[in-house]
């Protein structure tokens, strides 16, 4: 277990940033633990979601942004549904993940890589090309044979396409990506 020096590592601007970007008020959390009790991923988290909320109240930017928990959260919405203080906890987790991505502090590289492969495919074709996404992920992650056992199954069922389906407006979709990237650059 890590010991945190709360006075040294407290970053009050972080609390303000997360509150603004998520539209949630973390100080409402009174640590009842209902979110953690229902979280299907809590066994895999380094910090249970209620502890992430507590760390957030204490402005622990670095600990939170380098945690595995924010990447292993699947946004299943159980925490949000059950929070007695009506905090959208999943939205807080999503916001933390977005900030971690922006600051390039990604503890779960494979998960981010999979998301990126998905978005690349979408940017290139307008729609998701399942086979291409998997292959791109396998190449980039070095897990060359990830899910190779499933290949024959989907092949036999005629469910996999070997070539992408490009939509007519794929450039318009790609433009959403570039406009967003330009805007993000402008705002630092």
């Amino acid at each position: 277990m890590n010991t945190l020096n709360l006075t040294k590592s407290m970053d009050l601007t972080f609390i303000e940033q997360v509150s603004r970007e998520s539209g949630q008020n973390p100080s409402l959390c009174y640590q009842c633990g209902n979110c953690t009790a229902g979280c299907p991923y809590t066994h895999y988290f380094d910090y249970p979601v209620s502890q992430i909320m507590r760390l957030l109240q204490a402005g622990q930017r670095d600990t939170i942004l380098s945690s595995k928990a924010i990447w292993l959260c699947a946004t299943c919405e159980t925490c949000t549904t059950r929070c007695p203080c009506e905090i959208d906890v999943a939205m807080v987790m999503d916001t933390l993940r977005i900030i971690a991505r922006r600051e390039n502090k990604v503890s779960e590289k494979d998960i981010k890589l999979f998301y990126d492969s998905f978005l690349e495919s979408m940017k290139g074709h307008g729609r998701l090309f399942e086979m291409g996404t998997l292959l791109a992920y396998n190449m980039k992650s070095g897990h060359l044979f990830a899910d190779a056992d499933l290949g024959p199954k989907v092949l036999e069922k005629g469910k996999i396409h070997f070539f992408p389906k490009n939509i007519k407006g794929k450039d318009k979709v790609a433009k959403i990506f570039t406009r967003f990237q330009e805007k993000a650059k402008k705002h630092g």
Binding site: E77, L128, I160, K168, V173
Partner: protein, 331 residues
């Protein structure tokens, strides 16, 4: 139901690994007289990966489709996939509630979305717009012996402020639809427990462990089949079932059907047009067990007749014994 036309957004999965969801949904809508029209040149909704990047960006990827749907003159889009649905609902609700969010999203788009399209899941259209009575009226076949665990997945009814449909903890719409077509439904505690979602590729073992719980809880509830409404759940439960078995050292075999496939079977539609052969864990036994309502009535009548006969036989035996008793008393 009044003649209403819906825009129908199938989504990327339904062109690939979930093609049988698309096939069966279209067939069932046809039987029920629900008119659907596919938006021209739709694009991916952005799904989970987009909202890990930015919320305005994610909403823009979804809203491009809402703009297309708005332009085709439809006021409602029905969506089979809960992930697409959630992306659309977040974009639509966010943009109609918050002017500055709307402007930010529209800045990323070629053509702005003005907020005129209500997204609804296909399950919601069936349950609320078509209605149980109309759903039940088209049944021609029965599936005796089948006990289904209805599995809704995480986000079809959650969070309630976004989903605005059914119950966030104990949804019943799929239960009621299956019961309306004569299917027996198990009391299933893991209706909404997460299957592992989109982590299948990067975190296979974790997903297999989570899926195992969902599968074995269905068996514990006495079910011999699971009904789903989400392509990702279906993929984790069906396509990855052999992976689950090798990760967990189990030997589960339980067919995972889309609710639309089950409804279609009771409407007498052919297994081929419902894409039953596309399932990895075979559902052939379910298909073989299918009988017409007349056959079911005959079967039930036979059972009743046999019961009545047995009762009558028991009664006459009693009478005989009584008669014999009184005879012995006389002598």
């Amino acid at each position: 139901m009044a003649e209403k036309e819906y825009a129908y957004y199938a989504g990327c999965s339904l062109e690939g690994t979930a093609v049988e969801y698309d096939m069966s949904m279209r067939q069932v809508f046809k039987v029920l007289g629900v008119n659907i029209r596919e938006p021209d040149d739709w694009s991916c909704c952005g799904s989970t990966p987009a909202h890990t990047v930015d919320h305005v960006f994610a909403a823009a990827l979804a809203a491009r489709n809402l703009t297309i749907i708005e332009k085709m003159g439809a006021d409602t889009v029905t969506v089979p996939c809960p992930s697409c649905l959630s992306a659309f609902k977040r974009a639509h609700l966010g943009m109609t509630a918050d002017e500055s969010f709307k402007n930010e999203v529209n800045e990323l788009l070629d053509e702005p979305y003005t907020g005129g399209v209500v997204p609804k899941s296909t399950l919601q259209v069936m349950f609320e717009d078509v209605g149980l009575e109309a759903i039940a009226s088209k049944v021609t076949h029965a599936l005796p012996g089948l006990i289904v665990a209805p599995y809704y997945g995480c986000i079809l009814t959650r969070p309630p402020e976004i989903a605005q449909f059914d119950d966030p903890e104990n949804p019943i719409s799929m239960d009621k639809i299956l019961e309306a077509v004569g299917i027996k439904v198990a009391d299933y505690a893991f209706k909404m427990e997460c299957c592992g979602a989109a982590f299948g590729v990067p975190k296979k073992d974790m997903v297999n462990q989570l899926t195992y719980r969902v599968l074995s809880m269905a068996l514990d509830a006495g079910a011999n089949c699971i009904a789903v409404a989400c392509p990702l759940c279906q993929q984790n439960l069906d396509l990855r079932q052999s992976q689950v078995n090798s990760t967990m050292g189990s030997s589960l075999t339980i067919p995972i059907l889309y609710f639309s496939q089950l409804v279609g079977l009771t409407y007498g539609l052919s297994p081929k047009e419902l894409g039953i052969d596309k399932l990895v864990v075979s559902a052939d036994e379910i298909v073989r067990s299918r009988i017409t309502l007349e056959e079911l009535a005959q079967r039930e009548a036979k059972v009743k007749a046999a019961e009545a006969e047995a009762k009558a036989a028991a009664k006459s035996k009693k009478v005989q014994v009584k008669e014999e008793d009184s005879k012995t008393e006389e002598t």
